[in-house]
């Protein structure tokens, strides 16, 4: 095993991890604020990808799709939260899961009505095609771009949660809903916006992932599994945890595939089990947890 190959796999792992971060961060955000387990998260990821496919089919540029698709899905989430999601908050977690499984079925079938069951994949823009020479390894430009987007999104979210007035209200609302309400925070609006941001981020991940792999309406359960691995490893509800967890899982998966290809998927779920048993708060539980 040459060190060059190892380094290449490491970079690959970081790249995968940053995509995973986009996939998982919305899930952890929503859980962190209302302890709401959204099993429909993967469906929003797939919706983003499919919507961007339609936009590109209609001759719009990738850049427009990159902005419009997450906005549309986020808006849908904003409408959906007060109509449906809010009713799940006070339900037992087991039934939150069952209810959002139901929501997944509805979204999947609506998506199948619109897009059909076929695999849809998009093309990255011309400027992002090709390879970049990183010295030890040539890396696809598009994947570097995704990594850049993930980092930018990460920083923007950190600022939003930790530094902005909205973030202060959000943390207050997560900590003590009634008290925040008494102090004049519109908690209902707060949670609707959080849900919208969460599913919008999932959709953004979908838009970015669509050129690297085909997605169809049935992909959501596979995507959801990985998202849960990451937020559990990082600590459910922790923003920093989602970032570190995604990198750890991406690198671990990439290295495992190098040495023992068959175990690539097994290892991440075993990591999830180990974390749940040793420290169910995950790597960053409670420390930087939103609530």
């Amino acid at each position: 095993m040459s060190s060059d190959l190892l380094l290449a796999q490491l970079i690959n792992g970081v790249g995968t991890g940053l995509i995973y971060f986009l996939l998982a961060v919305g899930l952890t955000l929503i859980f962190g604020v209302r302890d709401f387990v959204n099993f429909a998260h993967g469906a929003f990821f797939v919706l983003g990808a499919l919507l961007s496919w339609t936009l590109l089919e209609h001759g719009m540029s990738f850049w427009i799709a990159l902005v419009v698709a997450p906005l549309v899905i986020g808006l849908a989430g904003f409408v959906m939260e007060p109509l449906l999601i809010r009713r799940f908050y006070n339900v037992d977690p087991a039934f939150q899961i069952v209810g959002t499984i139901g929501l997944t079925l509805v979204i999947q079938e609506v998506a199948t009505m619109i897009w059909g069951p076929a695999n849809r994949s998009t093309q990255p823009p011309k400027s992002l095609q090709g390879l970049v020479d990183l010295g030890v390894v040539s890396y696809p430009t598009y994947r570097l771009f995704i990594m850049g987007v993930a980092v930018v999104v990460g920083i923007a979210l950190w600022w939003l949660i930790e530094r902005s007035r909205f973030g202060a209200s959000l943390r207050a609302g997560a900590e003590d809903r009634d008290m925040a309400s008494c102090l004049g925070v519109n908690t209902g609006m707060l949670f609707a916006i959080t849900f919208a941001i969460g599913v919008g981020l999932a959709a953004l991940g979908g838009v970015l992932a669509a050129p690297t792999r085909g997605l169809n309406t049935g992909s959501s359960s596979e995507v959801l599994g990985i998202a849960f691995v990451i937020i559990v490893v990082g600590g459910m509800g922790s923003f920093l945890g989602a970032f570190v967890g995604a990198l750890v899982i991406g690198v671990a998966q990439s290295l495992t595939i190098t040495f023992a290809p068959a175990y690539g998927s097994v290892v991440i779920y075993i990591a999830m089990i180990v974390v749940l048993l040793v420290k169910s708060d995950g790597l960053f539980g409670k420390v930087t947890r939103v609530r």
Binding site: Q108, E109, S265, I270
Partner: protein
């Protein structure tokens, strides 16, 4: 007391002990055999119903959601296919092997899962489901990987090379599955009606209070986890003999989700609900999917409705309907002037 038929029937079947569940399940499978349009649909309903029974023990009676019943459904199936094709085991022995080994694996997974509560419990079962799914590819020498294992012989009962009964596909297989279902249903109903079942419900209702009363919560949880694994494993074993092959689809987490859907749809907190859930799920899957390919949307809406408004599921709806009928009949048949208090008390209590 009024002698209306509904109440009379309920008194007859409510004789206690094994009579009521035996009668209920026997009548149900006979009706299923008479009414189902094909033997394979009827058989599939019974197999899914058995798988859901296992899930229901956990979710409905103990309050534990397992999104990992696919482990036992898939493993039971693989064990059936491997033992039948490699060692020539018959269904009777394969059932025992599947049940026992699934209980052992459930004890292993359960020992980890019961250390956590709520969402973390669910996550552990989910992680094991995904692990098992990918392990099926790692051990593809045994599982056949993506191709699965074919050539499972006809289901037969016997031992030591002799078989006294062969369940050929079609009606015979259904009869065999029906007998197994009734047996399983009666045993499990007895289980949940036993003092052990009462403790399980106590855990569901208030875990810390049950613990304070001196019950070993973990031992009870582990026990019900093992029983649940064995039951779902039996369903998986039967499924493989039914379709004649084992495939990786049976061990995917989607199968676990399907089992949860059937359980919740039919109605938790009632074992009979699992049967009703399987009837409705398979019927929709078989008939509605041809007419309207997006039928799962209805399933999704039903699940959301059940979670938010009506936890009882289909069984709850049926029960509410019967109570309404009973109520209406009792009002009509008894003269309020003769029994002024009885009618009122029925109004309040029902």
């Amino acid at each position: 007391m009024s002698a209306n038929p509904v109440r009379a029937l309920s008194r007859l079947t409510g004789a206690g002990g094994l009579g009521r569940p035996a009668l209920l399940s026997a009548v149900s499978v006979i009706l299923l055999g008479l009414l189902a349009p094909s033997w394979s649909v009827a058989t599939l309903i019974l197999i899914y119903a058995m798988a859901a029974l296992g899930c229901n023990l956990l979710l409905g009676y103990t309050g534990l959601l397992s999104v990992g019943q696919s482990v036992y459904f898939g493993l039971g199936g693989y064990l059936a296919a491997i033992t039948a094709t490699r060692w020539g085991l018959q269904l009777s022995s394969a059932l025992i092997v599947s049940a026992v080994l699934c209980a052992v694996v459930a004890a292993f997974i359960g020992a980890f899962a019961i250390r956590r509560l709520g969402i973390y419990f669910v996550m552990i079962t989910f992680a094991f489901a995904e692990t098992a799914h990918f392990l099926a590819f790692v051990f593809q020498d045994y599982t056949g990987g993506e191709n699965g294992l074919g050539g499972v012989p006809a289901a037969s009962f016997g031992g030591f090379g002799q078989s006294f009964f062969i369940a050929k596909p079609g009606p015979t297989f259904f009869y065999m599955a029906a007998v197994l279902f009734v047996l399983l249903f009666v045993v499990l109903q007895r289980f949940v009606d036993s003092p052990v079942g009462a403790v399980l419900v106590a855990i569901r209702e208030n875990e810390s209070r049950a613990e304070a009363m001196g019950y070993s919560i973990k031992a009870y949880k582990l026990l019900v986890f093992m029983v649940s694994g064995a039951v779902t494993g039996i369903a998986g074993c039967l499924y493989v003999f039914f379709v004649g092959s084992a495939s990786v689809a049976a061990i995917e987490s989607d199968m676990a989700i399907t089992i949860v859907i059937i359980t919740v749809l039919g109605g938790i907190r009632s074992l009979y609900g699992s049967f009703l859930g399987a009837v409705v799920y398979v019927a929709l899957d078989t008939y509605l999917s041809d007419l309207w390919p997006y039928w799962q949307m209805l399933l999704g809406i039903a699940l959301i409705g059940i979670v938010l408004f009506f936890k009882g599921g289909i069984h709850g709806v049926v029960l509410a309907f019967f109570n309404l009928v009973r109520h209406l009949l009792s009002r009509r048949s008894s003269d309020p002037a003769d029994h002024p208090n009885e009618g009122a008390s029925v109004d309040v209590s029902r």
